[in-house]
Amino acid sequence: MRIELGHRSFVCHAHALDFARNLFASCIVQRLELNWKTKLCLFSSIEIHLIPSCSLLNFPLIIGRMIRFILLQNRQGKTRLAKYYVPLEDSEKHKVEYEVHRLVVNRDPKFTNFVEFRTHKVIYRRYAGLFFSLCVDITDNELAYLECIHLFVEILDHFFSNVCELDLVFNFHKVYLILDEFILAGELQETSKKAIIERMGELEKLE
């Protein structure tokens, strides 16, 4: 029997499944937060076999290429925007943000815009004091994502008319809204700057 929990799945005996269901029902009722390790312990009544790999950026049940996360950081490493398309624990997110910043901040501008990061690849581009980083599959088309970052920056620039870091800080929720019109579920959604700006205009009218 296989139990699926978020993106992890477990193999266990049939009655353990009932046990797990009851447990989760009660967790939801009590709004308890369990981390996966606790869950694991609870499931160990008979036999556990953890199937997927533990590498956090691997998305075991998701196949194919996609953007894993997008980060926008300043030179000091302050995160101005962080969008994850794979589920990560908060602590893991902070670690990723710290590591990515460390990787990109000291690179020579003449160097490639690609750095290998764990089992993936980070495509980054620097605009003044801001680093835009995309984490993608190791086999994906790096040049296309580089272009993708630039298009996103152009959209921001157009929307905020000459964007600066402060715009992004105070209007972070709008930045997220723009990003959601541009990329969804880790895939490119719209390639026309005009279409996105128009759509943002419509959404603003609803506020």
Binding site: E4, G6, H7, I28, R31, W36, K37, L40, C41, L42, F43, S44, S45, I48, H49, L50, C54, L61, I62, I63, G64, T79, Y84, Y85, P87, D90, R107, D108, K110, F111, T112, F114, E116, N141, E142, L143, A144, L146, E147, C148, L151, V169, F172, H173, L177, D180, L184, A185, E187, L188, Q189, E190, T191, S192, K193, K194, A195, E202, L206, E207
Partner: protein, 877 residues
Amino acid sequence: MNPFSSGTRLRDMIRAIRACKTAAEERAVVRKECAAIRSSINENDHDYRHRNIAKLMFIHMLGYPTHFGQMECLKLIASAEFPEKRIGYLGLMLLLDERQEVLMLVTNSLKQDLNHANQYIVGLALCALGNICSAEMARDLAPEVERLLQFRDPNTRKKAALCAIRIIKKVPDLAENFINPAAALLKEKHHGVLITGVQLCTDLCKVSAEALEYCRKKCTGGLVRTLKDVANSPYAPEYDIAGITDPFLHIRLLRLLRVLGQGDADVSDLMNDILAQVATKTETNKNAGNAILYECVETIMSIEDNGGLRVLAINILGRFLSNRDNNIRYVALNMLMKAITVDTQAVQRHRATIVECVKDSDASIRKRALELVYLLVNESNVKPLTKELIEYLERSDQEFKGDLTAKICSIIAKFSPEKIWYIDQMLKVLSEAGNFVKDEVWHALIVVISNASDLHGYTVRALYRAFQTSAEQETLVRVAVWCIGEYGDLLVKNVGVLDIEDPITVTESDAVDVVEVAIKHHTSDLTTKAMSLIALLKLSSRFPSSSERIQDIIIQNRGSLVLELQQRSIEFNSVIEKHHNIRSALVERMPVLDEATFIGRRAGSTPATVSTSNGPSLNLPNGVTKPPAAPLVDLLDLSSDDAPAPSSSGADFLQDLLGVDLSPASKQPGISGTNQAPRTGTDVLLDLLSIETPPASPITDILSSSQVYKSPHASLEGLSSPSALSTRAATPAGAAPMMDLLDGFVPNSPISEDNGPVYPSIVAFESSSLRIMFNFSKARGNPQTTSIQATFTNLSPNVYTDFIFQAAVPKFLQLHLDPASSNTLPAGGNGSITQNLRVINSQHGKKSLVMRMRIAYKSNDEDILEEGQVSNFPRGL
């Protein structure tokens, strides 16, 4: 109602946080805000809910915990207004992810919103679904998404297409529902919808063979036409990037064509023309054009063979490689790795450029290029390539040396045409980057040296020279010390000088100097020091005139804090002092090491596992079968002093001396029962001379001939682990017959280890109320499996009832729990519960066991839960 218009508190909060000068100040502001938000949540304040969540999102971005706001997001989503929903969904995507159970509560709201009349609200719901969809939600909401794929508004259609991708990734079984609507999207004119449709089809084809078949039949022609239209389209300002209309669409189309063409010659044929057109006509001045070309090359490489196109593709990569833009060179290196399987010759033409890339200042390019060079090496070019790489090793960055050294060593080992070249190159690597060389590499080098009998003199002189310049490279020192110990006489007497060598004069004391420097150097570790001690013992016999000086050096280690060195130095000292009659025989040159064993080791990438031998054929850890009669000269020719020893012991000794993990199990099992006396003698000498024998020393064999099984891995690990050494040192049970040799250095009470566990028991868990002991045993012939008997003891005065023990292990382990002997644990240690566990370690020998556990029981009608982690498992389990 807008929470974000100026003067509201979100702005003020951000200002306040930005005004903070120190982290402590920032924390104080955030704490105050969080407290206010919490109390507002508790009062169930409707008006400020969205503002609170907006603030929480900002706080979350700064890295503070915000879980208390999760339920508020759900409430916002349930409200009717667009602005509130918008913040609610945004919060949902930022503050939660698909693993949180709270998400189950949101499925219903999502369903309602997906059916909402307002297309913007539908858009919000789709967006949230696409980003946090779990498998369960995927199943529940797939029909809505399927319907929205045909929605009139293109913005909704494209969002639904991307949601569908997420759904089929989560639940591939749902793919067939999406085939038809997805194929319909390919006929769209709207670029946004078209691009998402193409992506959906690509992912469908990957998860479903049915979809792949359908798309191949029905869509290929249409896609080729679409690509042609996009490629030939006149200037379109809306989609123009650097003079190219929508490069993103180009790339997505090429990618889908690749999926369709792979493995289908007819479909590949259909796309030849357009691929050729894209490959030749695309503008290459700008990044966007190169991105298309790059994708096009990958498609050409992947689809069924078409010679002409492939030549075109490799030429494009050649152009990329000579581009001045680093990004372009990087992708070229990346793609050439794929091209190498298609056309090695063509890639070989670029070898010089690629080797230059290994020396680039950018680590990303270096890494790619090194991988590629590694693939390019063959018998004909190994010499110049290795030369170039080793030359670069001198100049490379510290952080790159590790990778580079590993690759060079691997190349040398794989392609070396002759032994002298192998030895030369390895010495160069050792003197440049010896500290980065892995243990198995220098072990292999010693084996090769030992096999090249005509090169012994040459090697030891070369090592002597290398030592003078690179004494800081640990592995070089080890190999040099070993060789000087073995072939010191050849060094001094200049035996076997080759024409290519410069003449060199080394005196006996020069040779001893080397070993003395090695043993006294502060950076030398235990292995080096132990090897030096043995080398000294050997030299004491080879250089009689330096014998006294050598003895002085050995004696200096008598006070060593490391038990191993201390004991060896005392033993060796007594050998030099009192046992002249056996010394020369004792320290004779080692016989040739079995090369096949090592080649097998390197070839078999899997770790050594089973090493028990029950039959006449002896399985070495790597699975190479060794002839029962070990073809080794007896090293310790004991005939002068003692009864002859079984020759196989010599082999073990040698291996042990080298730290190679040939297990004692490679001995003929029959011997131990019949030949007790001679075995004892050998074992003691073995014990005496070896740097390390496995913790379960062969002596146990004598005590119980049935106990054949030994841990095959302990020896290698033991080489660098003092703990294993001391375990070994504590088992001198069989030393009695040779006590005089050890000069009374034998503990008074021999430890009785007969049939006892090979691994010590541990206290896995102890609290004020409970103690858990683990006893280990391993079945013969199955070192991966460890049986653990857990014994639970109640340390409190109360009886425990409903006692349940649970355990969890990481994924490289498999755990089976047998039922416990009881679920009631008597008070005060009057009895115990036992439970058997079985752990299978798939990474046996590489990783040791770890376990988390959780114990639940009732004491005085109170539920008690205890948790713990066991990481003190004995090594080698």
